[in-house]
Symmetry: D2
Subunit: 142 residues, 4 copies
């Protein structure tokens, strides 16, 4: 019991999100995300790109389909999940995905037209939870 399974990525979308509506009305979105790192080898600049399968559910999928497009730079937080499936030849295969729990578009305003977006899964947290009404007082938790 008691474990942590967390992934943090910053990268560019390789494609527009692909959106599907499952039976029951649940929305799922997915897209490939590229994270690149550059290093030197024998004086040469090598770029190594890793591709990640990003999956988003429900409300987060809706927000993604609205605000994310191919090429955008995003911060994604989520968890790893490996699942099995059968391909067309009924061979069992495995795929590891990053199930997104929230995301934030990075970069300049010009990069994302008018509307910045931050997705957070399920019921959007009332962020006002974090506004401390005692902030300005001398009456502190510490």
């Amino acid at each position: 019991m008691s474990g942590i399974n967390k992934v943090i990525l910053v990268g560019h979308l390789g494609k527009d999100p692909e959106v599907r509506h499952l039976d029951g009305g649940v929305t799922v979105a997915s897209f490939p995300l590229a994270t690149s790192e550059t290093y030197n080898k024998d004086g040469k600049r090598i770029e190594q790109t890793e591709w990640h399968n990003i999956v988003l559910w429900r409300g987060l999928a809706e927000v993604a389909s609205k605000y994310l497009q191919k090429g955008k730079l995003v911060y994604i937080e989520g968890k790893l999940r490996t699942r099995s499936f059968e391909d067309k030849e009924r061979v069992k295969k495995y795929v590891t995905e990053v199930v997104a729990e929230n995301f934030t578009i990075l970069g300049r305003k010009s990069d994302f037209e008018q509307t910045p977006a931050t997705g957070e899964n399920s019921t959007p947290k009332s962020e006002t939870d974090y506004i401390d009404p005692t902030d300005a007082s001398g009456d502190l938790p510490f």
Copy 2:
């Protein structure tokens, strides 16, 4: 716009959580958390401990007050917040806290009796969101 402010800690509580109920019924809990790292200096084993002020709000504060006690090992995820206050002599001071967004008790089952606890802020996420009904099928997002 568009930033990330994330803290990840694994450490032991220095004290039991201190719980307060603000006007309006909002619950706040706080406790000090120690994260230690050990390194070698001139062949000697040096332990360096850092203390963090952890603050939890609302539901997360309730869960913490119930399941966390001095000495427990916990994983905490949250964000940094620096706020100012006036001390008793009315001198302006600053304190940086980690506002917890979720936590998980680590360690062995025997460490926390029968009930493992994972807190997550605000409305508890329906974790079943993450169960993919198409898991076993060949009908996949990828």
Copy 3:
């Protein structure tokens, strides 16, 4: 360019690390790690376990083979890497691994006999880099 690919796991080893020495003397270690999360579904406690393929290189592999055993609770930080290989039937397959960049054994002292271990890749960082010689003075960076 410019991406982030980071994985943070806390879980238990499913097996002892398996160590291999490649041609050229490079050491590689690998083991499966389980991260479990517990949630409620219809009032029932459901535990969901995710298995991760952890790979460690060189010095980190050596440290892991020495201090990690089946059942141990560890914190692992690393990055995702998906690579292809051919199985015995020469079918191309993909596997996603977590290439560890450092790890820390968690839990009680009694859990790991006398010697706590923290691995960090390549040349072990001189942690004394972080000791600020001006700490106690009034001569500060800020």
Copy 4:
């Protein structure tokens, strides 16, 4: 013992890095970093900015002073450290800083002229450590 103290930030520099050379030749750089989050309150868009004190040592400080300037968007990974000092009136004060362990400039090429930079503390890791010579073969750790 055995703890984790990790901070992950994405934000903009509020000022150019300030570089100091300590006795003994050690370089320290520091700058304020802003992480902003936007949320809705009563239908109004509220932006909340948090300021962090970033400190970098030695090689990382050198790289930062060269490639980071006011306004740049950066990913920073580091750890929390609270230290005390005496102000001019010899009053003991505390400040919490983020001691950077590595950073990456984010954003478009045009944002950072010609030279992308990634800093990593101390002896730069040979990233080739991570290139698996067995990648293309069927001879795998798993």
